[in-house]
């Protein structure tokens, strides 16, 4: 597989905060690579460094197997944190500047304006655009002349549901064309819907990385309650497949590290002379799962 991006031990510190800590990862051609992490976990700092906006304290990276340069950046389409354009210029004029910087002619501008649904407003000034349109212009500029890799930093942040759906559709369409994508997001379901590979980031460290369906595999949880929750808790914690427990409103939410059926639990507790007043199986939300991934790492 052809390596598009290779990051080696990249670090960046802001005062007391280690924003990115010896981060290494590799993105190969055709991957849709998610960088998943809560706000402040170092996603934007990482992307800023590989785009030459932020100077790393240490570490290195290569683009397309080469030392990074302006020429490698011309092959990248990037949507960074906020859409950055000249407010007094139209979408078209702004894209003409982007094309010029990238050494392209203007022949692809119409296409990306159509793809992002901005064609009808192409001659209006950027400052008259809604936030959603501004974000779509950022996507349009990133798509110009079909880059080898598309980088998206929280592309749906701050959009309304319709805008979110539109952007996600666009990304999926680009992905289906075989263009490599890096998507930074704090939204688990976004990464899960779009990406096939993921690195989970927290406090500048990669906690896990791998195929999305491995890393983000969902196990269910079981709700339990009994007259004596303390005894119940002790018994559950002794279970060989026990993983974690959360208590709320007199109900214990239990997660097992492997698939354990409610019937088997009932049986197990019965043997320990605990009778249950409540037992249901519950699908955990993806967010709960994500939070647990992060929590596990802290303990």
């Amino acid at each position: 597989m052809e390596t598009i991006l290779s990051i080696n031990q990249l670090s960046k510190r802001y005062g007391r905060i280690q924003a990115v800590n010896k981060l290494s990862l590799e993105v190969v051609k055709g991957q849709v690579f998610g960088i998943l992490g809560p706000n402040g976990s170092g996603k934007s700092t990482t992307l800023g460094m590989i785009l030459d906006l932020i100077r790393p304290d240490s570490g290195s990276f290569t683009w397309f197997g080469e030392h990074p340069s302006k020429e490698s950046r011309k092959r990248i389409g990037a949507v960074i944190e906020t859409p950055n354009f000249f407010p007094y210029l139209s979408a078209r004029k702004n894209l003409e500047i982007v094309a010029k910087v990238k050494d392209y002619d203007n022949s692809d501008i119409e296409r990306v304006l159509r793809t992002t649904g901005l064609y009808d407003r192409k001659n209006d000034k950027f400052k008259t655009y809604s936030f959603g349109m501004k974000q779509r212009l950022a996507v349009a500029s990133a798509l110009l002349n079909n880059p080898d890799i598309l980088i998206l930093d929280e592309p749906t942040n701050g959009l309304d549901p319709q805008g979110i759906a539109h952007i996600r559709e666009l990304i999926l369409q680009v992905a289906s064309e075989g263009i490599t994508i890096i998507l930074a997001s704090h939204l688990l379901d976004e990464v899960q819907k779009i990406c096939n590979y993921v690195a989970v980031l927290n406090k500048g460290n990669i906690l896990f990385s791998g195929e999305v369906h491995d890393v983000l595999a969902i196990s269910d949880c079981i709700e339990l309650a009994s007259a004596d929750n303390a005894a119940l808790k002790a018994a559950i914690e002794a279970h060989p497949a026990f993983h974690s427990i959360i208590e709320s409103d007199g109900i214990l939410l239990v997660v097992f590290s492997e698939d354990v059926r409610p019937g088997a639990i009932s049986e197990y507790l019965h043997q320990k002379n605990i009778s249950l007043s409540h037992l249901t199986e519950r699908k955990r939300t993806l967010e709960q799962h994500f939070l647990e991934l992060l929590k596990d790492n802290e303990s």
Partner: protein, 275 residues
Amino acid sequence: MKLLSIELKKILPYKTFWIIIGLYFLFLALGIIMAEYIVNAMVDDVNKRLPIPLPHAVLFYFPDIWQNLTFFASIRFVLIFPAIIVIILITNEFTNKTVRQNIVNGMSRSEFIYSKLQVVFMLALIITVILMLVMLTLGLIHSDSQSLSLMLNGFSFVIGFFIQMLTYLCFAFFVAFMLRNTGLAIALFTLYTIIIEPVIYFLLRAPFIWENTVYTYLPVNSVIRIVEYPSIPALKKLMNFQLQDQVTLLACAVPMIYAAVMIGIVYLTFNKRDL
């Protein structure tokens, strides 16, 4: 040429640019129109105390027009306008964050700096050429055959004016890159030019040994000093010290060294800082 054409795409449709350029030439025109009145009002005032009155000054004939108009075009209050344009054009890139967009899309940091230097150079050149054409026209209107033969004598003032414009705009370029904030940069730059340096002047003047030495080497004054005095024969007679009659290489060298150092600092810091 690629970098300059990108800059033109950014600048030409920008209304604020044209407004300030317009204001600049308006002030310049007013200054040129008023200059003769002001000087002659001074002459009249002096004449009240003189037994033999001095003749009225005529500013716009060759070769003196070169020195006179470049002098009026380079007083602090006028010079500040193009500097503000440069500050706005550069800090806009930081406030709109378009500098990030440029770098991400494949401009190198050095190219970004270089593109702004090209803007500075072109602006200085265009202003100088326009002023030169104005001087040429006015001079031809006001000159008789005798002064026409001296036409090119004071041309060094045109080159001096270009150096003034270029170096002063480089100072503005420096401040814009360092502060990155439009309001702050304009406020500090204007304050320094119009108040801080003149105040330093008065402080340094107090012990007379310092007079015209240290102050000469302060950045903005070193620019102003390239064309330090107008050429008005009546006033020349009145004052007993020698007024300049040409632009010296030494006078140009001081601000150019400042500008070179500032450009160097911008290159060094901009390549290291986060955007």
